[in-house]
């Protein structure tokens, strides 16, 4: 087990270095590179730009610049926002909670519905329900999230007036119920794609387990189909789902960005777009790296958790 953990940790570190290299490459793609913030200032001469460039260390070899940048990344010195000069990590931290709340709620919704749909589809294979779930999942994967959000706002806020059209809470009313009412629609919209993915994988995983010998043995013993399902099938079918949950994090983060834009939800996605609009490149870069690291960590956590609950993984 220790060896497996060390091995997996090593892989994550290698990935982190590669991710940082890609991030650094993207940073240098910005028009004018890191100097772009000054280039637009009126009255700035080339000599001034050269001096600033030397001050920022931009005249050093690219490898040295990268090493320096990576070292500061590790120490948590991610630079300061162009917009309000606050440290980038503080700015991101201020928006992370909202995104986490949205993603967490969406995951709970999609896991609950997706697991149910997947198991039902697998146990009643080729039924009308199974067929409808298959087609429904495919359509759900094809609907643009932001458009689905717009349609939801149109129906539930503008036509029916049941739910607020955006924001996280009403100003002056921070009650739990108020938060919950604001959370429902964006979380459902974000969960849509995930439900589709989750139910498909759950169906396949359940089918895999159902055809195994120990399930046949349990049935032969005279166990009721319901008990076989609950005691032997569901638990085993959920095992590969832990990995899937980790793998879904990038999709979920991307979906959160789009959902947050439509519902003016004050999370990381919204911050990313605002920062792009203000050409606030340190925050843009920070969010890019932050989300990639988040993805690395969640994949690591998912793998370690799988190894913890499934002894077969540890031994290989």
């Amino acid at each position: 087990m220790t060896r497996y953990i060390l091995n997996r940790l090593g892989q994550s570190l290698v990935l982190l270095v590669l991710v940082s290299m890609i991030g650094f490459a993207v940073l240098n793609l910005a028009p004018g590179g890191p100097l772009s913030q000054f280039a637009l200032t009126p009255g700035m001469t080339q000599a001034d730009l050269d001096r600033i460039s030397a001050q920022m260390g931009l005249d050093r070899p690219l490898v040295v610049q990268y090493a320096d940048w990576f070292w500061r990344l590790l120490r948590g010195d991610w630079g300061r926002s162009f917009r309000d000069s606050r440290p980038v990590l503080d700015v991101i931290g201020g928006h992370f909670g909202a995104t986490l709340l949205l993603m967490g709620t969406a995951t709970v919704i999609s896991v609950t519905i997706g697991t149910w749909v997947g198991i039902k589809g697998a146990t009643k294979r080729y039924s009308i329900f199974d067929y409808a779930a298959t087609v429904g999942a495919m359509v759900a994967l094809s609907i643009p999230t932001f458009w689905f959000g717009l349609v939801a706002i149109y129906i539930f806020s503008l036509k029916l007036g049941w739910l607020p059209a955006g924001n996280m809470y009403t100003i002056g009313n921070g009650s739990f119920l108020d938060y919950a009412i604001h959370l429902i629609m964006p979380a459902m919209v974000l969960a849509l794609v995930d439900v589709a993915v989750w139910s498909r994988y759950m169906r396949t995983a359940t089918l895999d387990v159902i055809n195994q010998d120990f399930v046949r043995t349990a049935r032969a013993k005279g166990m009721t189909p319901r008990r076989v399902l609950m005691k032997h099938v569901v638990g085993n079918a959920l095992l590969p789902m832990i990995t899937l949950a980790g793998l879904q994090v990038p999709t979920l983060l991307g979906g959160a960005l789009v959902t947050e834009t439509v519902f003016t939800w004050p999370g990381m996605g919204r911050l990313f777009l605002d920062s792009l609009g203000y050409q606030d490149y340190p925050v843009v870069m920070g969010l890019l790296m932050f989300s990639a690291i988040l993805v690395l960590l969640s994949n690591l956590a998912a793998d370690l958790l799988t190894a913890f609950v499934d002894p077969r993984i540890r031994l290989t």
């Binding site: 991710v19 890609i22 910005a30 643009p144 991307g254 960005l257 777009l273 969010l287 690395l296």
Partner: protein
Amino acid sequence: MSVSSTPINRPIKSGWWNSRTFRRFVRHRLAALGVVMVILLTLVCVIGPYLLPYNDLYIDLRARFSPPLTGYHFLGTDPLGRDIAARLLMAGRISMLVGFAAMILSTMIGATIGVVAGYYGGRIGTVLMRFVDAVLSFPSIFLLLALAAFIKPSPIMITVIIAITSWMEVARIVEAEVRSLRERDFIMAARMLGLSNRWIMFRELLPNAMGPIIVAATLTVARAILLEAYVSFLGYGIQPPLPSWGNMLNGAQQYLQSAPWLAIIPGVAITLAVTSFNFIGDGLRDALDARSDLN
């Protein structure tokens, strides 16, 4: 010595329409529906604009915000009084073209990296596949938006950027396929004949991995159309006055109360196109995957 072939010793050549793959594909009703939809959408977008009385840039100020099915504008007009039907069809050309071009480019990148990684294996393979993992660690929309904001957007650049952020799936699929093909006898034979590595990779291995590549490519079209819609909706993709399904939705939110058709119509078009390509991809997967016979 005359080489005459009698019908008996000539191998019976059955056409592609007779093949098992093709028959299974047609049996898949959703996939067939998808093909019909894609053909219809393409025809309508290519021919349609010539049949409409308005072009996509004509501004009819007196008819601003006309709802669909009223007056002279079949699908209504936008805030500038431009005909939505005309814009929708022109946008369809752009969006589907971007989707296709991005698919071709990303499949080429993905297949090349996948075949090199799978064929050489070892250190080269590991480094390449770890690089694939690293790119996959970035949520693709974040990466796409950052690149689109940094690089001056033109339809070609948007296509390139979408391709850069969506080749990884293909690379993974090809790598896995090539790794298993590499040990087969025909590759051994090709090596013994002294064929070059490049010949073996691109003339022997890739054609044999074509099935999974085609499936992935079809699904990539769907994905690329969606991605283009996202970036254009957020204002970093195809720039007006050139219409795309995504940028027609840009700004639709503020008129959601007064002119909901602005938001609904392009979204329906995107959903139709993307669903069709996903249906086709799914049908192809069933048809090309030999294992699907077992279930």
